[in-house]
């Protein structure tokens, strides 16, 4: 179903639409007081440090490129800078406990992390066979529809986004209370 690029809507919509709906609802929910309580329940350094899982995801993406399932641009050897966000996560988690400057750095790092995700998600969509295939790379992005790699857009990307949004919300609250 996911592999079928001629379907309308395309097969990847079965994952992308619920993920987008979940992210929009999560962001709206986090803006409420109940959502804020959830974000603030976790220590900030844990939210930030958890982003280091992206190193492992990048290593898997690199292996998929070697196997011919992904264009090079979706890996750290190409135009995907996500591994630097994952690699710097423990440092940022440590810095976030070092006062206001650390919190400001963590805030900037979270914005960079979201931009990095937007970069790789956009590249993944425009290299996938289907109606949005705007870039014809050396090989198409065949990750969508190759079990079990649908868990990257279906689990790891939303997890990274939610962690970033929770961190931004928690940093905002911490900055307000320390004024």
């Amino acid at each position: 179903m996911i592999k079928n690029a001629t379907m309308r809507p395309p097969g990847i919509a079965f994952i992308f639409v619920p993920v987008l709906a979940f992210l929009v609802l999560s962001i709206l929910r986090l803006r409420s007081s109940a959502g804020a309580r959830v974000a603030l329940a976790f220590p900030l350094w844990i939210i930030l440090g958890t982003q280091s899982f992206r190193i492992v995801v990048e290593l898997f993406l690199h292996q998929l490129w070697i196997d011919g399932l992904l264009p090079k641009m979706l890996t750290f050897a190409g135009a995907n800078v996500d591994i630097y966000i994952g690699a710097s996560a423990p440092l940022i988690a440590w810095l976030s406990k070092r006062g206001r400057l650390g919190l400001r750095l963590a805030l900037a790092w979270n914005v960079l992390g979201l931009l990095s995700l937007a970069n790789v998600v956009t590249r993944a969509v425009v290299t996938t066979p289907g109606p949005f295939n705007l870039i014809h790379a050396e090989v198409p992005n065949l990750m969508f529809g190759t079990f079990p790699y649908m868990f990257i857009p279906g689990f790891f990307v939303p997890l990274a986004v939610v962690l970033h949004v929770m961190a931004i919300w928690a940093i905002g609250s911490l900055a307000r209370t320390s004024l």
């Binding site: 996911i2 898997f60 292996q63 079990f147 079990p148 997890l159």
Partner: protein, 51 residues
């Protein structure tokens, strides 16, 4: 082999999320996260496998 490693990593991260939720959130919210995440992961797996 790489597929098995990847599925193992998905399970590990899902377990980590559930464990963190159980540690820092109340029981009802943690249960909702665990149930929702399990159902979602099964859905993604089934959609991915289906032809």
């Amino acid at each position: 082999m790489i597929m098995i490693l990847f599925v193992g990593f998905v399970v590990l991260m899902a377990a980590f999320v559930v464990a963190l939720s159980a540690r820092y959130l109340n029981g009802r919210t943690a249960f909702a996260i665990a149930a929702g995440l399990s159902m979602w992961l099964i859905y993604v797996g089934l959609v991915d496998i289906s032809e």
